[in-house]
């Protein structure tokens, strides 16, 4: 039964992950697992000092844990499910002896939790490093998703000749854009380490490291479903051997904080003495429900968290905020709040239709590790897409309507005349102009030649120009963060209006240039590019628009 529930939960997690894409309907919370995780919500609220509506979902899990104990780990957690499912595959032949230092190692997860809390207390988010849901979502995004698409494409390539021959054109023409991310290998290594540690003890991660498990285990002893062992117990030790969490203690005792209600012990007991009845006693006493962490340990861990948080923050990157070439997704909170609120789950990067969202490595300092940025030379921000905010569980990227998102200006394109093919070499290039969805790039005639220029008040920094500029190496038109709008609350539309920005695609922009550029006098004689003026040999013909003669 448990395996079935686990499999279902893992499947649901995977399906929701897959649905986090351009086509995601507004009503579907694809990030629901991340919202349910109270650790992510609490850490983001504590670090960000702002209430986060979506974090309210975490109350559901807290309430359920208060009722039933730490069942989440055994039934719902997708990472727990993966560890359980991989266990017999990878470690069947390994004789795992109980770790000698079991009791001490168990503290570790509380240390992790306290470090996370300590850092959050001084406004630094560390929760992303080891929170299981964020970590798994990130692993899905950076590793499994690209690998899956790669495999699908390989398969399609293999059947393509056959499909072509049979006229199955739907298959023959099918191919998916390969998603790619920085940090895939690092992410894989972290995930592999977590899986590999199970070789030392089953669910090593859950027992000793998981901070969400630690948080839930604090509540777990209050749960009313509690393991009880009949007084006839001969202490054969079979349940202790079977328990994946090391929760079964000597002589029928139960470490309630560790017990995840998986009931593996029930099946293992030859005397059928183990039950999980509804407890009458609200707060159990006894040594087994205690968290064995000393006050000194607690203080060390908290101080460690504060110290780590402090050091993570104290890099020149913090002082350089806003001065670096770093473009955040549209709707991202002001940088400081953004760094504190983003949990680095990678869901925005997964859902990004153009794949421009990439994890920061060093671009935003240590504090900004794995936060999303736009790699605009690689791909642009699609005008018709607002999915990154829709799927952000902590709303570090605000969920915006398409119109609002359009006005969430992320930067301004800067044209570099020294490398622009038109400005520097008189080539007939127009790509930035033709690709610009906002008509922010127009041509005007300057000293007899048609030249592209940027209208900053029409540019919202989407980066199509930078992505597609055919200049080799650095683009001749680069989006700089200059003029970005980052609002913690309120309307981007209103703010953009206030700043006299206009992103409504305006048919009149070209005319605006011709009539108000001071070139109007020569306009009548001008011919648009690509055309030639009517033949009039002799007189130096005024320059026609490109393509005309």
């Amino acid at each position: 039964m448990r395996t079935a529930v686990q499999a279902l939960s893992l499947a649901l997690f995977t399906v929701l992950f897959a649905l986090a894409n351009y086509w995601l309907p507004d009503w579907l919370p694809a990030d629901i697992y991340l919202r349910l995780d109270p650790l992510l919500g609490l850490s983001a609220i504590l670090a960000g000092r702002e209430w986060i509506g979506r974090a309210l979902w975490g109350v559901v899990l807290i309430a359920a844990t208060l009722l039933f104990g730490r069942f989440f780990c055994a039934y719902v957690c997708p990472l727990g499910a993966i560890l359980d499912f991989l266990d017999p595959v990878l470690f069947r032949r390994i004789a795992r002896r109980g770790l000698q230092s079991d009791a001490r190692l168990r503290h570790l997860k509380y240390v992790v939790l306290i470090v996370v809390a300590g850092a959050a207390a001084i406004g630094v988010s560390l929760v992303h490093l080891l929170d299981p849901i964020a970590l798994l979502t990130r692993t899905y995004t950076f590793v499994l998703y690209p690998a899956f698409i790669g495999l699908v494409n390989l398969g399609l390539d293999a059947v393509r000749p056959g499909a072509q021959a049979l006229g199955w054109m739907t298959i023959a023409t099918r191919s998916y854009p390969q998603p790619m991310f920085y940090q895939s290998l690092v992410t894989l290594l972290i995930f592999a380490a977590i899986v590999g540690l199970s070789g030392l003890a089953s669910r090593f991660w859950c027992r000793y490291l998981c901070p969400l498990g630690a948080l839930l285990s604090l509540l777990s002893p209050l749960g009313r479903l509690r393991r009880t062992v009949g007084p006839e117990c001969p202490a054969c030790g079979l349940c202790q051997e079977a328990c994946p969490m090391g929760a079964a203690a000597d002589e029928g005792g139960t470490r309630l904080a560790e017990c995840i209600q998986c009931r593996t012990c029930v099946a293992a007991c030859p005397q059928e003495l183990i039950q999980f009845p509804i407890a009458r006693q609200p707060i159990p006493g006894g040594e087994y429900s205690r968290i064995n962490l000393t006050r000194r340990g607690f203080l060390y861990a908290a101080a460690g968290g504060v110290g780590v948080g402090f050091l993570v923050r104290q890099t020149p990157a913090a002082a350089l905020q806003g001065k670096q070439q770093l473009i955040r997704p549209p709707g991202a909170l002001p940088e400081g709040e953004f760094l504190r609120t983003c949990i680095r789950c990678g869901e925005c990067m997964k859902s990004c239709v153009t794949n421009t969202l990439q994890p920061c490595v060093a671009e935003a300092g240590l504090e900004g590790l794995w936060t999303p940025r736009m790699e605009l030379r690689f791909a642009a921000c699609e005008q018709n897409c607002n999915v990154c905010g829709k799927v952000c569980p902590t709303q570090a990227i605000r969920s915006l309507s398409l119109e609002e998102k359009t006005h969430a200006k992320v930067g301004t394109a800067v044209l570099k005349k020294e490398s622009c093919l038109v400005w520097a070499q008189d080539k007939l290039c127009l790509i930035c102009d033709e690709i610009c969805p906002y008509n922010a790039i127009v041509f005007r005639t300057i000293e007899g030649y048609r030249r592209p220029i940027v209208l900053p008040s029409h540019c919202n920094g989407c980066g199509f120009c930078e992505a597609r500029c055919p200049v080799q190496g650095e683009s001749a038109i680069v989006v700089a963060p200059n003029g970005e709008i980052r609002l913690a609350e309120g309307s981007y539309l209103t703010e953009a209006k206030r700043l006299e920005l206009d992103f409504t695609p305006d048919a009149g922009n070209d005319r605006f240039i011709l009539e108000q550029s001071g070139l109007a006098a020569g306009k009548a004689a001008e011919t648009p590019p690509g055309f030639s003026a009517a033949p009039n040999a002799g007189a130096p013909a005024p320059r026609p628009p490109a393509g005309f003669r």
């Binding site: 351009y22 023409t173 191919s175 642009a380 699609e382 897409c385 790509i431 041509f443 070209d510 393509g547």
Partner: protein
């Protein structure tokens, strides 16, 4: 389609089709001011109706598509916008031609373009896949992966010596070009000849390495559509090729075998950037004409007009 001149030339095709055309023309409705065997057919009307009439007036699709042949249609569907923006071919024009091809007995019809903007969004917003969804044997593909392209030589190329073209185009006997009439801030206008750039892999080099007007004429020597049907039901007269820009409504569909002639007529149907031009004033068309790829002067063309 014809590669490097070793296949069927335009002249051969015209001869071969003459009989068929004659049959087709006898059945022409009165609305067509029929020039015998017209070079161009110009129909005023709504997208679907005008397209249907234009095909009819050229002698029916069976003149171009034989039973069991594979057909490629090349519309503009490069931009994530609907027909009102006039950056893409009207979905009804594409669907009408696709249906006519299937009715003529085509084995299948592939509607292909290598989009400029995000393929997934172009797919959704152009409306073309939707319009073709109910047509059996018609497939719409945004060709964005290099594996679907194959390099060919350009023997008559002046600047372009080789180019990677969508394989399906190279392997299909029939290519029908379905350009949207629009302005273009480098080539003046973008119609049939310019639209060929949507069938190649490295379009960027046309801007960065070559003179685009010469490269387009080179490209037109190796990719030779059997038929061009220009969608000028709407014309993007400024802000092209992507728009947004001013959209005028000539309500015309212009069809012909000669790709230069169709474009040359298209140049005259609207003022571009507020000025009237002739085909000869468009550099890439003039270059293509001088290479012998088609007629450019309208007074040398037999033009049949109709209204639906």
């Amino acid at each position: 389609m014809t590669i490097d001149g070793h296949g069927i030339t335009r002249r051969d095709l015209l001869k071969g089709a003459a009989a068929g055309a004659a049959v087709g023309l006898t059945g022409l409705p009165d609305a067509v001011l029929a020039a015998a065997d017209p070079d161009l057919v110009v129909v005023t009307g709504d997208p679907a109706g005008a397209t249907r009439k234009a095909i009819e007036a050229l002698g029916g699709m069976s003149r171009f598509v034989q039973k069991g042949q594979r057909v490629v249609l090349k519309p503009n569907m490069s931009f994530a916008s609907g027909p009102d923006r006039a950056s893409n071919t009207h979905p009804q024009v594409v669907a009408t031609v696709a249906q006519a091809c299937m009715e003529a007995g085509a084995e299948r019809v592939m509607v292909l373009d290598n989009p400029l903007q995000t393929a997934e969004v172009c797919f959704q917003r152009s409306g073309i896949p939707d319009a073709c969804k109910s047509l059996k044997g018609v497939y719409v593909q945004m060709v964005t992966d290099r594996k679907f392209f194959r390099e060919i030589k350009v023997p008559q190329g002046k600047v372009l010596d080789r180019v990677e073209v969508i394989k399906e185009v190279l392997d299909s006997p029939v290519l029908i070009s379905l350009p949207q009439a629009k302005s273009h801030s480098t080539t003046g206008i973008s119609m049939g000849i310019k639209g060929l750039m949507g069938l190649i892999w490295d379009r960027w080099s046309f801007h960065s390495r070559y003179n685009i007007n010469l490269a387009l004429a080179d490209l037109a020597t190796v990719i030779r559509p059997q038929l061009t049907i220009l969608d000028a039901t709407r014309a993007l007269v400024t802000g092209g090729p992507g728009g947004p820009g001013e959209v005028s409504k000539p309500n015309l569909v212009i069809a012909g075998i000669d790709p230069v002639a169709v474009d040359a007529y298209g140049v005259t149907v609207a003022p571009w950037y507020g000025q009237q031009f002739k085909g000869r004033q468009v550099e890439h068309l003039l270059t293509a004409h001088q290479r012998g790829l088609g007629k450019i002067d309208l007074d040398q063309l037999r033009i049949a007009k109709a209204t639906v």
